[in-house]
């Protein structure tokens, strides 16, 4: 209990409150602006955390994640263009509501649902991460290795068009993750004599290139197009019966978003659409959905926002990033010498408690910014795409320069931007590519330890039933998903 109070003490310092507030505000802006998404913003923001303390840095990034999840609803409701992909489900009922002159009600219910979903999932994170990490500490390297293969396979099968391509991306990421000095022998690997590569390829440089710059190049294809004109936000008020109808929807969708957020690879878009479908299918008046039902907005937003904190549960407890945001947050942890995973609860408990407190603080700030700033954010949604893209490309170059302090990183970013563009166009998952890259050091260490423990004898695996069970579940999951995909493809062809 004392540690929790100390955590709140560390989180409520003026500088930390300022960084959390700045993160949430930036996240809101990112969420509102169509074309500028959460991974791009996080990739650009991680190098900045080098200049902050660990608590402020991580809280700043989490603030951006949370703010963008909430801000995405503004443009979805007002201009029918989701600021974030996960807000697409919000458009279905949010925009019809705005066209009926009920934009204010839609924005308010989206905000309340977002904040509740976020707080609920944050509390689940606080309650679950530490007990899970205790279990994780009991398992050995063979089991960790099996868990990593499970996570990579699962993410690969869910985050792209094809399982094969997802796995290829993951192993390409692992291959690039081996660049640098070998951790055990200290001999250089794939460095081509470049001293700058001895520490490996910087995660942030890859993230800025593959996520941010390549995304901006794709956005340039939309040249000549302007954003829509936002509908007015003034006027209407929420009625008591509407609030009563939305409360159970928000509670159910928050729970669904939290459960789906814990599963690696599913992401916020799946959660928001599933929650929307669930609420519509269980409604006594499903015909209202798509025509302007407040429950539709509430369901999508509560689930979308619950995914952000829930996605941190596997990261904090097991050291496994469940999605792209968690993978980038690992980068910030590493900058401050903290390795996410079960040992973090033993070695850096005070930092974690302060991060939890900062996350709750971010939820409160989200509500304040959303409630008082909706008019301003509505105007931001009008910003032309050319202004956003040109500014973000410039920020990519500056971010890459700040990361290493040399031009080497900037040229690497340009190369990875082309790789990112190719991954997108050929429909390979850049998410699994990046997660494969991030997991490489842990994977290599656990694989090395597992091989030593089993003496390279496959039969020794029989002495590790948990690892065997995880590998069996991985194989079963792959088989199930592959057969489901075949069925879907067959249906589409017929």
């Amino acid at each position: 209990m004392e540690a929790v109070i100390a955590g709140f003490g560390a989180a409520l310092t003026p500088s930390n409150v300022a960084f959390v507030g700045l993160g949430v505000l930036l996240g809101y802006v990112v969420g509102v602006l169509p074309g500028f998404n959460r991974p791009t913003a996080l990739a650009l923001a991680v190098p900045l955390t080098f200049y902050m303390g660990p608590i402020s840095g991580i809280a700043f990034l989490i603030g951006i994640s949370k703010g963008s999840a909430t801000g995405g609803a503004v443009s979805a409701i007002l201009i029918n263009t989701p600021g974030e992909a996960s807000s697409a489900a919000t458009c279905l009922d949010g925009y019809p509501l705005a066209r009926k002159g009920r934009a204010r009600s839609a924005l308010l219910i989206a905000l309340v649902a977002s904040v509740w979903g976020d707080i609920f999932a944050t509390l689940v994170l606080i309650a679950l991460a530490q007990p899970l990490s205790r279990v994780a500490l009991l398992i050995g390297p063979v089991e960790i290795c099996a868990v990593l293969f499970f996570a990579l396979t699962f993410i690969a099968s869910l985050s792209g068009a094809s399982l094969l391509k997802g796995l290829i991306s993951a192993f390409l990421g692992i291959l690039l993750g081996t660049v640098g000095l070998d951790a055990e022998t200290g001999t250089p690997r794939l460095t081509f004599g470049q001293a700058e590569l001895f520490d490996g390829l910087p995660l942030m440089v890859i993230a800025i290139g593959v996520l941010a710059l390549s995304e901006m190049i794709v956005q340039m294809e939309e040249r000549g197009q302007q954003q829509g004109t936002p509908l007015a936000t003034g006027g209407d008020r929420l009625r008591a019966h509407e609030i009563r109808a939305c409360v159970p929807v928000i509670l159910r969708s928050s729970l669904l978003g939290t459960v789906l957020g814990v599963i690696p690879g599913l992401g916020a878009s799946v959660a928001s659409f599933l929650a929307y479908s669930w609420v519509r299918s269980t409604s006594s008046t499903p015909e209202r959905f798509g025509q302007g039902a407040l429950e539709g907005v509430a369901a999508a937003e509560a689930a979308d926002n619950a995914v952000v904190p829930a996605g941190l549960i596997p990261l904090f407890a097991l050291g496994i990033p469940g999605g792209i945001a968690a993978a980038l947050i690992i980068g910030a942890f590493m900058i401050h010498g903290i390795t996410p995973g079960p040992l973090m609860f033993l070695n850096h408990a005070h930092v974690l408690n302060a991060i939890y407190a900062s996350m709750l603080l971010a939820s409160v700030l989200m509500f304040a910014f959303g409630y008082f700033g909706s008019g301003l954010f509505a105007r931001l949604a009008q910003l032309p795409l050319s202004v956003i893209v040109a500014s973000v490309v410039f920020l990519c170059i500056v971010g890459a320069y700040i990361e290493g302090g040399t031009m080497f990183g900037v040229y690497l970013v340009l190369g990875f931007a082309v790789l990112g563009w190719l991954l997108r166009k050929f429909d390979f998952s850049y998410v699994t590519f990046l997660i494969g890259f991030v997991l490489t050091p842990t994977l290599e260490l656990s694989l090395r330890q597992a091989l030593i423990l089993t003496d390279r004898n496959p039969y020794a695996l029989l002495q590790h039933p948990i690892a065997l069970a995880i590998l069996a579940v991985t194989a079963l999951a792959v088989w199930r998903m592959a057969s489901r995909r075949r069925a879907v493809t067959g249906l589409a062809t017929s």
């Binding site: 900045l48 200049y51 094809s162 094969l164 796995l167 290829i168 192993f171 390409l172 692992i174 291959l175 081996t178 070998d182 055990e184 022998t185 001999t187 250089p188 690997r189 794939l190 460095t191 710059l213 901006m216 190049i217 794709v218 340039m220 939309e222 040249r223 000549g224 032309p384 795409l385 050319s386 202004v387 893209v389 040109a390 500014s391 490309v393 410039f394 920020l395 990519c396 170059i397 500056v398 320069y401 700040i402 302090g405 031009m407 900037v410 340009l414 082309v418 563009w421 166009k425 050929f426 429909d427 490489t440 994977l443 290599e444 694989l447 090395r448 330890q449 091989l451 030593i452 062809t493």
Partner: protein
């Protein structure tokens, strides 16, 4: 399966073989280390990439190919945009390095905005001033990073 998968799989197999037989022997050590030699994980990852790419190629060959699908997945417009975007970013990086942060940044922003069809001179003037000026102050005064 799309023909572009066939192209991607073939290129990945060729690159994988080149990595396995040329790059890895030259750039990694096959000895040393307990449990895993420095070359083992990159070699394993490359082998898996080659194997999965071969499966992708087989899958693409077996599946019915749509009549009008192309081996290159991007349209002419998208490919041109990528080249122009990359060229602008490269030019800006060179300007950033040899001319300086402010000029390089301003040229980059204005050229991308013009490329994207922006013709409002107020926006063309205001955007680089605010973004480059703001970032210059942020990077040099707040972060104390020396810029070119």
């Amino acid at each position: 399966m799309k023909p572009s998968d066939l192209a991607a799989g073939t290129v990945l197999i060729l690159l994988g073989l080149y990595t396995l037989f040329v790059v890895l022997p030259a750039q990694t050590s096959a000895t040393g280390g307990i449990g895993l030699a420095p070359r083992d994980l990159p070699a394993l990852a490359t082998l898996v990439v080659i194997g999965l790419s071969a499966l992708l190629v087989v899958q693409s060959c077996i599946a019915k190919l749509p009549g009008r699908a192309s081996f290159w997945p991007a349209s002419w417009h998208e490919t041109l945009t990528m080249f122009v975007g990359f060229a602008l970013a490269l030019a800006a990086t060179l300007a950033f390095q040899f001319v300086g942060f402010i000029v390089g940044g301003a040229v980059l922003i204005v050229s991308i905005m013009l490329f994207m069809g922006e013709r409002n001179w107020l926006r063309l003037l205001f955007t680089p001033t605010v973004v480059v000026g703001g970032m210059y102050l942020f990077v040099t005064r707040l972060l104390h990073v020396t810029v070119p």
